[in-house]
Symmetry: D2
Subunit: 104 residues, 4 copies
């Protein structure tokens, strides 16, 4: 992604607020894929084509902007995510209702 | 994350629309960190404490829900993101204005 | 809201991208209220306390930032929304599946 | 909007989580209009065509889903927003830095 950005001289566009809005745009496209699916059929429907490829593309777009944002801020995303997961394991003991927690 | 979810028996909560709303919640928390920062100072401010750690945490939360969503749909996120990046390299030749493209 | 903003001298913070990120933050808080509710119970649960008041507050926060954004851009929001609704009536004839349309 | 929904028999699609995801989709389209604009030119650019009409349409789409969500939950949106604004006036005395507050 650094090469991709440098070759296109797009770095000047990549201030955090702009990248964040771009990420919001991609989250919106992802939401549009799922919005009218019945909740209890969404997983099966998105596990099959044609939705599966579309979902993979939109999830990837969100990921790419997330990496772009993290990289611009000097954040080691893998380390940060592992730290957050360890923290969640401590804060949410097994057996808790996620309605009051933040699972994941 | 699979262990984390299984140990808490939270899988029944993790239908795609619910995970997507949880991701939207974390994107919102990320946006709140940046919303009132001057655009041209946001990168420097978020590169320093106390904002740096907060930003790393919120970006991680978004990432963890994104992985949870992808995993539930049987998507290989690394492969999908690499494919999307290759596709972007073909669609957006170097030198193009990102105002009309989708950089990243 | 104009008085509220002027009295606090906050107008300089209210450039469109900042207000938009603030709106995203409020949409995130709204999403957090609903994310783990069973889809088929969400309406009933949010129609009762304590969720009803919380939902009203978060929906209001989104609305207030939406009005702030529109006002800053010189948009007559009532006229624009009515025009959009009329347009939707023409584009989506009765009987169409919303899975392929944009209902509302 | 109630007539619009009833005539198309779309009410069954309009559970809160689905409408909320549809709202997220429209917020994403709104974000895409602004993401790469320079922060200090965004207001002027969106005050002129061709962006002005596009912004009015996307803001309207967000508003329409927000009204649909509120109506489905039995929320009087005008009353709720006025109450929230009054509350903000009390919580944020004039002169406060919005960086620490939630202006609007």
């Amino acid at each position: 992604m650094r090469d991709f950005t440098a070759q296109r001289q797009w770095a000047s566009y990549h201030d955090p607020k702009s990248v964040l809005l771009a990420l919001v745009g991609e989250v919106g496209e992802l939401a549009e894929l799922f919005q009218w699916l019945p909740a209890d059929e969404a997983r099966d429907m998105a596990g099959r084509e044609p939705l599966h490829t579309r979902a993979a593309e939109e999830i990837s777009d969100v990921l790419l902007y997330l990496i772009l944002l993290a990289d611009g801020l000097g954040i080691d995303l893998g380390a940060a995510a592992n730290a957050k997961l360890t923290d969640s394991e401590l804060r949410f003991p097994a057996g808790q209702d996620p309605g009051r927690a933040a699972p994941g």
